[in-house]
């Protein structure tokens, strides 16, 4: 299967999750934002500014509140609605003073990203760069954002947040032709459903990453890891034994 389409099934599952939420009569907010639309003062790709604890309006994806992050991609343009930001759950102004759960799924569309998935890991870390009043801590499968009082009082919401994130993705990876983002701030039950999909997608991207490194001549599973879990251990041992026998000879 083309590596650009290995996550298509997972993107379809995300869509099914959203649709099931709509079918259950729950609100799913949706904004379709043209590219030129700048909702936050454009200050370029600068470093996040500090947001002290005492200046915090809300924390999304705080460790006590659950978090899920997924970055998926496809070459099937039908699977990505460019510029779409969707939200299931309360918006920023409604969760002031709280530690809110955060699910965030980014879907990227492109005819081809090239051979390496590593850049996604890097860009993922810079998703909120330059957005005033937002500080992030991001790991491969979680996102934790701290929103300042100033930013939320000034009108920052998920619509603006999503818009700026999209700009950062397109700025950092020119091959991105389309992008949409889903935010979920509702509850743990929704997060668990999202996590199941994100986890499965993560296994696919992890396998791609391992393959990328193998192409560079490095076996990630072998480099400094544990031999006991390696499928090639018996062959490896036999080779090492043969090598030491020839030395002894």
């Amino acid at each position: 299967m083309n590596r650009m389409n290995r996550l298509d099934d997972h993107i379809v599952e995300i869509e099914a999750f959203v649709q099931s939420t709509i079918d259950a009569g729950r609100q799913v907010r949706e904004w379709n934002l043209p590219e030129r639309d700048t909702l936050v003062g454009d200050i370029g790709p600068s470093r996040n500014r500090m947001v002290f604890a005492r200046d915090t309006a809300a924390e999304l994806g705080h460790p006590t509140a659950d978090s899920c992050l997924g970055v998926l991609w496809t070459s099937d343009s039908d699977l990505v609605s460019d510029g779409r930001v969707r939200l299931i759950g309360p918006d920023l102004a409604e969760i002031v003073g709280q530690h809110s759960p955060l699910g965030q799924i980014v879907v990227l569309g492109s005819s081809g990203f090239g051979e390496d998935t590593e850049p996604f890991a890097l860009v993922s870390l810079r998703m909120v760069d330059g957005i005033p009043g937002v500080m992030s801590r991001i790991s491969p499968d979680t996102a934790w954002y701290r929103m300042s009082r100033g930013a939320v009082d000034g009108g920052l919401d998920f619509r603006a947040l999503g818009r700026e994130m999209m700009r950062n993705w397109k700025r950092n990876i020119p091959e991105v032709e389309s992008i949409e983002i889903l935010f979920v701030t509702s509850d743990s039950a929704d997060l668990e459903r999202l996590k199941a999909i994100a986890r499965a997608a993560h296994e696919v991207t992890a396998a791609m990453r391992t393959a990328d490194w193998r192409r560079k001549g490095i076996d990630l599973s072998c480099a400094i890891s544990h031999c006991g879990s390696c499928a090639d251990q018996s062959a490896c041992t036999a080779i090492a034994r043969a090598g030491s026998l020839s030395h002894a000879g």
Binding site: P63, R126, M135, S139, I224, S225, H226
Partner: protein, 438 residues
């Protein structure tokens, strides 16, 4: 239920050594107290509680009160909840902070460790431990919890301990390499067995509600630690090099400070100082030019390398091997199983050094990227400590990753615990030439 063993007393030398160590540390404490340096005095609680740690161990030895022996991966929260004192083998080996603060003392330890006859490519910490064990410096514990992580080499010490104290029951906690659900569940099982072991040999029953209280405190302390780490993102960095390293000792590696109010106050004082610096736009360095990730813990000769980096290279180590902005996982206190799983994750997967040293290469690269981006770093120092062969093995991969990220990488071989391996002049040349070149 009790099967506590009556053991021979600790050696006279162990007792004598403890007393001399305490007296020495008290003298050094007087000197520190008089230094008048606000920044240095931030670390006073860490130093004073190390004295208290040694004093409490001495009291247990002299009065024949049972205690166990463990290291930070051995989950200090269990012992705190059971009101069970533990002696840390790094406390004995490094004499608390003395190996870091007193070069002559460090040299004496090195000379003793040279006599052990262990091969030169075994980590010097292991040689220190073995030398201390052979010299009889270790007080005899009633029981011992052995840890097989963060590094495979620690089992060298555990084996020496078994041989020196053959009658001391020892529990070996088998730690998984993978940070997935299977690994967490497995290690939670090991921790349950560890609790049973401690209960059996110390005539104490773990009160799970008391454990919940202890964990509620340490959860807050971990959150404070992360808050402090966040402040180091500021440019210029409000703190000096390796400023977060002592937190690991207070929170994780000292029997008298785990979940203690002094640790909470210590963390708050660090945060207050850093916030004030940030608010005033001040950095620890007057002319901060380079912000570094040092992919290791603080060497025992941290004083001299810090001086070279900060004064001669205008470089500050913002992130080191024990602290970063990645979150610790708060423990779910719902049930015994969720508690054990949370502690398993905390002490087998979340701690940066364990995650990187004991885990897979993915974890090392993910952490590297996150640290560089989060802390706005321009330099990665990936030193190859003789005992940290994982970093040595990953040099090529680190080079590729740093090149992709546009940060400069410095690699060299050294010994975390032995400044003689790469003498100060050699280290000065390596560092100054590198920073001049970039």
């Amino acid at each position: 239920m009790s099967e506590s063993v009556t053991l021979p007393p600790s050696s006279e030398y162990a007792v004598e050594h403890l007393k001399r160590e305490i007296a020495f540390m008290e003298d050094v404490a007087w000197g520190l107290a008089g230094c008048g340096d606000e920044y240095a005095l931030l670390q006073a609680p860490m130093f004073m509680t190390q004295i208290e740690f040694a004093q409490k161990t001495l009291q247990h030895v002299e009065e024949g009160i049972p205690f166990t022996q463990l290291w930070y991966p051995g989950v200090p929260e269990f012992c705190t909840a059971m009101d069970l004192h533990w002696d840390g083998f790094t406390r004995v080996t490094l004499s608390g902070p003395l190996a870091y603060l007193v070069p002559e003392y460090l040299l004496k330890m090195l000379e003793e460790s040279d006599m052990t006859g262990l091969p030169g490519d075994v980590c010097t910490l292991r040689r220190f431990e073995t030398a201390a064990m052979l010299a009889g410096k270790f007080p005899r514990p009633t029981s011992a919890v052995a840890c097989l992580h963060p590094c495979d080499g620690v089992s060298v010490f555990q084996s020496a301990c078994e041989q020196m104290f053959p009658d001391t029951p020892m529990f070996w906690a088998d730690s998984p390499y993978d940070s997935n659900e299977r690994g967490i569940t497995y290690y939670a099982g090991e921790l349950r067995r560890q609790v049973e072991f401690l209960e059996k040999h110390h005539n104490k029953k773990l009160d799970w509600d008391r454990l919940r209280e202890v964990i509620a405190v340490t959860d807050t302390q971990y959150e404070l630690w992360k808050e402090f780490d966040l402040l180091k993102r500021n440019t210029p960095c409000p703190m000096g090099s390796w400023s977060g390293y002592p937190i690991h000792h207070m929170l994780q590696n000292c029997a008298v400070t785990n979940a203690a109010p002094v640790t909470t106050e210590y963390l708050k004082s660090l945060i207050a100082y850093a916030e004030k610096q940030v608010a005033e736009g001040k950095g620890r360095l007057e002319n901060e030019k380079h912000r570094c990730l040092f992919m290791d813990i603080a060497p025992t000769w941290v004083g001299s390398i810090t001086k070279i980096l900060e004064e001669e290279c205008n470089a500050v180590v913002v992130v080191d091997g024990m602290g970063d902005s990645r979150p610790y996982t708060p423990i779910d206190l719902t049930s015994e199983q969720t508690i054990l799983e949370g502690l398993a994750k905390r002490y087998c997967m979340d701690t940066p050094m364990i995650r990187v040293s004991h885990g897979t290469l993915d974890a090392m690269l993910d952490d590297l990227r996150a640290n560089v981006v989060d802390y706005n770093l321009d330099v990665v120092i990936a030193p190859g400590h003789i005992g940290h062969k994982d970093v040595q093995a990953a040099q090529g991969i680190l080079r590729d990753t740093c090149r992709e990220m546009g940060v400069k990488l410095l690699e060299f071989n050294y010994d975390l615990f032995d400044p003689r391996y790469t003498p100060e002049e050699e280290m000065r040349k390596i560092l100054t030439q590198f920073f001049d070149a970039i």
